[in-house]
């Protein structure tokens, strides 16, 4: 008797993700002939949770889904997901669960339970175009190390035509979606924080946050080294390849994409520091849904465990550029070879000590939207960062008030 389970997954990076997923699944099925996994590509992260929650409410949830780790509170609040501990029985299971790096687990646990299993996790990293560095008289092998250097380098790298219109921007930071995430990097570097881990409190209007956003905005408006307005995630790497941007910040998940598509030598490093180093985690966890047969949940758990074990973690990381969230994955032979051939792959890992958990609250989508709007408003100069963040904090208060008691 075969158990059939549905697996929703988003694609948030370039590359043949669908195929990689299918390859993995067919291997799993070969090893576990009693389970059949239907992979369902479900769009972006936000579409995935929309779909999954919709399906859950309609009584037909998928058995498991990859959703943003930060949506944990929303999912728990809805009663939509099952704690992983429920399925952990053997010592081997326990060892597996304990094998994840703590920074990734902080977004995965609340109320002493683990609700999601780190899977396609990432962080933001910093890329630069070595050719342009050379043209601008910079050392192509060393990227900017702090906020000031970023401004300085970007100034040198920004090229303008006769009429003063920029043809190449020195620096580009995407801001079209989940831009709070990039802000969080700046905030961490500024020794501030965006939210409380309890998920019911935000600090959008704290001075550290305001300064961080002001720095970001100053790149475009004061220093004029970044394209003003909102920069699409989707076009940011493309701009980089096309030479429209000399330095970009983007998700580490883009490593493979950049490696394959950049028609010039490029450098990659962890984010520049300010008061200290800092970067947010990001990306998706695997959640197992409530509202399905225990037997199916169990199969889903088995698949989850298999997919996030050392071997598969390493493979997934190598093929996509996501960070393998387990120490033992980095010890596998495959990973070691890969890192030797492509040392840049180590960069995200280097950042792990400095990482902070990603913004995650109740009604996360809504709160995230509020802070995103504030960032967009600041970047497009419709509001000052202080004003925008004050408004955002007020709105977040209004939303989260109901969850404090």
């Amino acid at each position: 008797q075969q158990v059939e389970i549905n697996f929703y997954y988003p694609v948030a990076i370039g590359g043949p993700v669908t195929q990689i997923v299918e390859d993995l699944i067919s291997r799993f099925e070969a090893e576990n002939p009693d389970v059949k996994v239907n992979p369902i590509y479900s769009g972006t992260y936000s579409e995935t949770i929309s779909k999954a929650l919709a399906a859950f409410r309609a009584g037909q949830p998928p058995e498991l889904a990859v959703m943003l780790s930060v949506d944990m509170y929303t999912l728990v609040d809805e009663g939509a997901v099952a704690p992983i501990e429920r399925f952990v029985e053997t010592d081997e299971d326990r060892a597996w669960l304990e094998g994840f790096m703590p920074v990734f687990m902080s977004n995965s646990q609340t109320a002493d339970q683990t609700w999601g299993v780190p899977f396609q996790r990432g962080t933001t990293v910093f890329f630069w175009n070595k050719n342009m560095f050379e043209e601008a008289g910079l050392d192509p092998d060393v990227g900017p190390q702090n906020w000031e250097e970023v401004v300085e380098f970007a100034g040198k790298l920004t090229k303008r035509d006769a009429s003063g219109n920029a043809t190449t921007w020195g620096m580009q930071v995407p801001s079209s979606l989940t831009s709070y995430w990039l802000l969080q990097g700046y905030v961490a570097q500024n020794e501030g924080k965006l939210f409380e881990l309890s998920g019911d409190q935000t600090y959008f209007d704290s001075p550290e946050v305001v300064e961080a956003l002001e720095y970001w905005v100053s790149l475009a408006h004061e220093h004029k080294v970044m394209k003003p307005g909102v920069i699409e995630w989707a076009t940011n790497p493309k701009d980089f390849f096309e030479g429209k941007a000399a330095m970009i910040t983007t998700t580490s998940g883009n490593l493979t994409n950049v490696k394959n598509n950049a028609p010039f030598p490029f450098g990659v490093q962890i984010l520049p520091e300010h008061k200290k180093r800092g970067a947010p985690t990001s990306g998706g966890n695997i959640f197992i849904f409530e509202g399905v047969d225990a037997e199916k949940q169990e199969a889903a758990f088995r698949f989850t465990k298999w997919l996030t074990s050392a071997e598969q973690s390493a493979e997934w990381s190598i093929k996509t550029g996501y960070i393998a969230p387990r120490e033992d994955a980095w010890e596998t032979a495959a990973m070691k070879t890969y890192v030797e051939e492509f040392p840049e792959a180590l960069v995200p890992r280097e950042q792990i000590p400095f990482m902070v958990p990603e913004l995650s609250t109740y009604e996360n989508q809504r709160v995230a939207r509020v802070i995103d709007d504030a960032i967009e408003a600041s970047l497009t100069a419709t509001k000052t960062p202080a004003q925008a963040l004050a408004d955002a904090q007020a709105e977040a208060e209004r939303i989260l008030r109901n969850y404090r008691n």
Partner: protein, 280 residues
């Protein structure tokens, strides 16, 4: 040659006539340009997305890449099923209702007709929150039926067919009855065949509407096995990081292709169908 044809007028003003003419063609070119450009992108390698070169090599790789990147075959199938189901249901349901309005007198006819016409303003997608709940209650979420159901009783269809039936001469109805046909017989043997052009017109309008419809299917479908093309394309084209415009163009054209080809083949019928549907 004048835009508003008045016989024999203003022969002399040929310069302005020429300006006018050029204006017309420029407008036409402007309008078709986006599509031509999309085709350009789709049939050339990605390097030529932003570089216009008459001698750029042609390729189908973009289509192949798009086709293999997402289960478009399945999406096509889903759309096809969806449209067939909707169309058949619309024809049956609207025909019956239109017949009642065209040939029967009953109490409250006007009020009911008005209530039905309300749907011209309040399309199902406007009420998507409640309609979604209804589908949840019916246990139909993520089914083809759920995608089609709210559209099956189409006020537009009822209105159109009623108009068509009203133009059927009463004498034909009488003649069929004298010859021994009953109510259903008259409907099937006289009204339906005579309204055939209207069915074609309505069918084309309906097919293109539902082929293009996004919001409701987006809300109500979750899985590959029900998702229609539009939703498939939406899901396909929205990865958060990095896109290839030539592949997106290829995918966009691919999803529009059947309509596009049908339109190019049956331009006249299309235009006339929409025209017919528009005359109220």
């Amino acid at each position: 040659m004048s835009t508003i044809a008045l016989p024999h007028q203003e022969r002399g003003a040929s310069f302005w006539r020429l300006v006018e003419l050029v204006g017309c063609y420029v407008l036409g070119l402007l309008w078709i340009m986006p599509l031509l450009y999309a085709v350009w992108m789709a049939i050339h390698p990605p390097e030529y997305e932003v570089r216009f070169d008459l001698f750029a090599p042609l390729t189908l790789d973009n289509f192949i890449a798009a086709w293999s990147a997402a289960p478009f075959a399945r999406y096509f199938f889903n759309t096809f099923v969806l449209i067939s189901v909707i169309l058949v249901a619309q024809f049956v349901i609207c025909t019956l209702a239109a017949y009642a309005f065209a040939r029967y007198e009953f109490k409250g006819k006007t009020v009911i007709f008005m209530l039905i016409l309300l749907q011209l303003m309040v399309m199902p997608e406007v009420l998507l929150v409640e309609n979604y709940r209804t589908m949840v209650r019916l246990g139909l979420v993520d089914t083809v039926l759920a995608m089609g159901l709210p559209y099956m009783a189409s006020a537009f269809g009822i209105f159109l067919l009623r108009q068509a039936f009203l133009t059927v001469p009463k004498e034909l109805d009488d003649a069929a009855r004298v010859e021994g046909a009953g109510s259903v017989g008259v409907l099937l043997r006289v009204y339906v065949p005579l309204a055939r052009p209207v069915y074609v017109a309505y069918g084309l309008v309906s097919v293109s509407y539902h082929w293009n419809n996004l919001l409701w299917p987006l809300v109500i479908t979750n899985s590959v096995s029900t998702r229609p093309l539009t939703v498939g394309l939406q899901v396909f084209a929205s990865p958060d990081q990095g896109v290839q415009w030539s592949i997106i163009s290829a995918a966009a054209l691919m999803t529009s292709a059947p309509l596009l080809i049908a339109f190019l083949l049956f331009q006249r019928q299309f235009v006339q169908s929409f025209m017919r549907a528009g005359i109220k």
